[in-house]
Assembly symmetry: C2
Homo-oligomer: 417 residues x 2
C-alpha cells in the first residue's frame, strides 16, 4: 500500500513553521506497513490543491491532506475537495452539535457564524468526528485513491490519525509487512565504515534488504528495511544480518536500537536502572534537562538542573571554587568536574552530568576556542571528564554536546545493567 | 521567480528525521523575492529522483535539491543528475584537493577511496565549492530550469545556500519584490477575530494583499503578503492597512512583529532593555532556558535557571518554604511566586519567571489537574502570578507554558521601554 502526505499552508513554504505533522503521519503509516512515497507542502489555493490531488489520483492508494480546515477565509481545502469530487457542501447536524458543544462548553462563549460554517462538509464524505477540536476530518474515495483531509492543529490531527484513520486503513487495505531496524555504531566515520562493511552491504541486496546510513555527531546509525509478507520472517533475517555485522566491526557496534534515537535508548535504560540524575549546564543552557523532561514519567529519574550560565552562578549555586576558575578558566575539565559533583550534591542524585563551553560565535568568559565544550560525568563517586571541539555554528555545538550526553550515559548504563 | 525545494532521503518519509533544511531554504529564498511553490520529500532512488525533477522541468525557474550526496552507496543523487542531463561524472582535481585537505587536516586520517569518489561531478555542472564539508554542491541548467544539488548536512547546506546559491540567484534572475509583515494579536480567538475584521479583510483583496491566520496558544498572528515591483511601495501599503487594523481591534492589537515569532521580539526587547533575567522551572524542565540560550549573545541578559523538577530541590535550591508547599500544594501560585523570587535572588537578576505545573499524562507531586500550570513573574520587587490549564498532551502543556512566558515578558518589556 502506497501513500502520499500533503501539507497545506504558505507558512510551511516560507519557512515560518517547521512541519512536524507529516513526521508523525509518516511514522504512523510506516509502522502499519503503508509506504510513504512522497511528502509535499503546498500553498493553500484552490488551483494548487486541485492540481496536487489530481497528480496523485490513481497513482497511490491514499492521499492524506492536513491543514486548511480552519474557520477563516484563508482555509480553502474543504471547498476544493467538494469541487474535485463534483460534490457540494451540506450542513451536517451532527458536526454542528459537536462544534456547538465544544465552543459553548470549553471556550464558554456563543457560537459564531464562522464556527457554524465548520459544520458544512461534502455530501458524499465520511466524517471523521473530531473530539478534540472544531474542524471535522473528511474521507472520500475516488476511483483507486482514498483522500483524507485532516485539520493542521497537531493534537487534533494526531487524534484523528490514531483514533479514526489508522483503524480505517487496517480494515480497508491489505497491508504488506514492513520492518525497520536501526543499528547504532560509534567511533567510526561514514566513509570508513562503508569501506569496512562493503561486502556485507552487497549481501543485503540479495535479500532485498535496504540499507541507509544516518550519520550524526560521533555516531552513524545504519537502518535496515525490508517489506514482505511476514514480520517474523523479515525480523529474523535482519537480526541474522546484524549479527554478521557485529562480528565485522565489534569495536564500533553498539547494538540494535529499538527506539528512533540514542536518547530514547537512554531513557529506557535510566528507567530500568532505578538511578536518579541531575545536570549542571552552562553552554547547553538547559537543553539536556529540556530533553530529559520531554518524555512522560521523567520525574521518576530526573531531579533537576542548575543552568549556571553566568560564571558567578557557578560559584554561588554549584559551589565551584573561585580558585579552580582562576587557575584553569571557566571552560575546563576541572570546572566541569566540580559542576557535576555540585549537581550530584545539591540534587542528591546517583548520577550527574555537566557542560561548560563556548558555543560561540563570540568568545565568552574565559578564553577557550569557540566550539570547545568540557563535560564531566559522575557515578559512584567517580568522575570522568572530556574535552571536545564541535566547531561552529552555535546550534551545532549545543546539539553536539547534548548528543554526547546520550552517548556517555548510554555507555555507562549499558555496561552497568 | 518560482522555485521548488526537493529533499531526498527515506528518513524524511518514515518520520525518522524532522526536515529543517527546507525551512531554512524556504526562508532564504522568500527573503530575496523568490516564491517557493512546493516543497517535496522523496525517496533516494534513481527512478523517483528522475521522475520528480522531470515533473518540475520548465514548470519553475529553480529546483533546489538537498541530500543524497554523501560518500556511501545509499546516496544516488549525483549519478541521477548526470544521467538526467545526458552527462557523465568526471574526476575534478580541484574538488579532490579540497576533499583531501579537509580529511587529512581536520579529521587527521588518510583519504579513502570513497572520499575520492566525492570528487566526481557531472562534466557540465558548475561546482559550488563546499568549504565546510566533503560533498560539493552542483548547479546545472536545462532549458528553462536551473537545478541545484546540495548536501543534506545542515551546516554544509546552509553555507552553500548563503555563500554560493543566493549570490548566483541575485545575479542571474530578475526578482520580484516580496514583503511579508506579521501582526501579532492577543486575547481573541481565530474565528471571533475573523468576524471582527471581515470587511477589512475584503479590502485587502482589492490591493492583492494576501492574508493568512497563524493561530498559536493564546495569540493569533496575521501575515500580510504582497509581491510587486517596489519593496518600499508594498511596505507602505501594508503598513497603512495594519494601521487601519489597529483602529479596528485596539484591545487585541499588539504590533507588527518584524521577527518570525514573539520569542524573537522578546530577545530584541531584552537586549535593548539592558535587564537581566533568570528562570525557575519545574514543569517546563529547562525549556525556557534552552530557548533563551539558543540565540547568540544570550549571556548578555540570561544568568541561569534553577530547573527544580523534584519538590525537594525547590526547597533546597530556591528556598521555597516547606509550609507554602504543604499549605497550597506544589502546583500553586504561592509556590510559583516563591520560585520566581528565589531565582531572582540566587541569580541576582532584574527579572525572573517561574513555572510549576503538571504536564501529565499522570498526576505528579501535589494534586493539581493534569494540564495545570502556575507561573510567576518578578520585576522591580513586584510579583505577578497566573494559573492556566493547557489541557493535554504533555508536549502541548510545556510548549504553551513557554509561549506564555514570551507573552508575559513581551507585555512587560513593551510597556517599560
Amino acid at each position: 500500500m502506497k501513500a502520499v502526505i500533503v501539507t497545506i499552508g504558505d507558512e510551511l513554504l516560507i519557512g515560518q513553521v517547521i512541519d512536524t505533522n507529516s513526521v508523525f503521519i509518516g511514522q504512523e503509516l510506516e509502522a502499519i506497513g503503508c509506504s510513504v512515497l512522497e511528502k509535499v507542502a503546498i500553498s493553500d489555493t484552490i488551483e494548487v490543491i486541485t492540481n496536487t490531488i489530481n497528480r496523485y489520483q490513481n497513482q497511490v492508494d491514499l492521499v492524506v491532506l492536513t491543514g486548511g480546515l480552519g474557520p477563516t477565509k484563508d482555509d480553502v481545502t474543504k471547498k476544493t475537495l467538494a469541487h474535485y469530487f463534483n460534490d457540494e457542501l451540506v450542513f451536517n447536524d451532527e458536526v454542528y452539535l459537536h462544534v456547538k458543544k465544544l465552543i459553548e462548553g470549553y471556550y464558554n462563549r456563543p457560537i459564531t457564524e464562522m464556527n457554524r460554517q465548520q459544520a458544512y462538509v461534502p455530501s458524499n464524505c465520511t466524517v471523521l468526528f473530531n473530539e478534540v477540536g472544531t474542524a471535522p476530518g473528511m474521507l472520500m474515495v475516488k476511483e483507486q485513491t482514498t483522500f483524507v483531509s485532516l485539520p493542521g492543529v497537531p493534537y487534533e490531527m494526531k487524534y484523528l490519525v490514531t483514533e479514526k484513520l489508522l483503524p480505517y486503513i487496517k480494515e480497508q487495505f491489505k497491508l504488506e509487512a514492513i520492518v525497520h531496524k536501526t543499528v547504532l555504531t560509534v567511533g567510526i566515520g561514514e566513509s570508513l565504515l562503508a569501506e569496512k562493511i562493503e561486502k556485507w552491504e552487497d549481501s543485503l541486496q540479495l535479500l532485498n534488504i535496504h540499507l541507509a546510513y544516518l550519520p550524526q555527531f560521533g555516531l552513524v546509525r545504519l537502518r535496515l528495511s525490508k517489506t514482505g509478507s511476514s514480520v517474523d520472517e523479515i525480523e529474523a533475517e535482519i537480526i541474522n544480518k546484524t549479527s554478521e555485522l557485529q562480528l565485522l566491526i565489534p569495536e564500533f557496534f553498539i547494538g540494535i536500537t529499538n527506539a528512533d534515537s540514542l536518547f530514547n535508548e537512554v531513557v529506557l535504560l535510566l528507567k530500568q536502572s532505578g538511578l536518579t540524575i541531575a545536570t549542571a549546564e552552562s553552554c547547553t543552557g538547559g537543553s539536556i534537562a529540556q530533553k530529559l523532561t520531554s518524555v512522560e514519567g521523567s520525574s521518576g529519574y530526573f531531579k533537576g538542573s542548575a543552568v549556571t550560565y553566568a560564571t558567578e552562578s557557578k560559584v554561588n549555586i554549584l559551589g565551584i571554587q573561585q580558585q579552580t576558575i582562576d587557575t584553569f578558566s571557566v571552560v575546563s575539565e576541572e570546572v566541569a568536574r566540580e559542576m557535576a559533583l555540585g549537581a550530584k550534591r545539591i540534587f542528591k542524585t546517583d548520577l550527574a552530568i555537566s557542560t561548560t563551553g563556548n558555543a560561540g560565535p563570540l568568545k565568552g568568559d574565559g578564553d577557550a576556542e569557540v566550539g570547545t565544550v568540557c563535560m564531566a560525568f559522575v557515578f559512584n563517586d567517580k568522575v570522568e571528564s572530556f574535552t571536545f571541539n564541535f566547531g561552529q555554528p552555535r546550534n551545532k555545538v549545543i546539539q553536539a554536546a547534548v548528543e554526547k550526553t546520550w552517548l556517555i550515559l548510554y555507555k555507562y548504563l549499558k555496561n552497568n545493567q
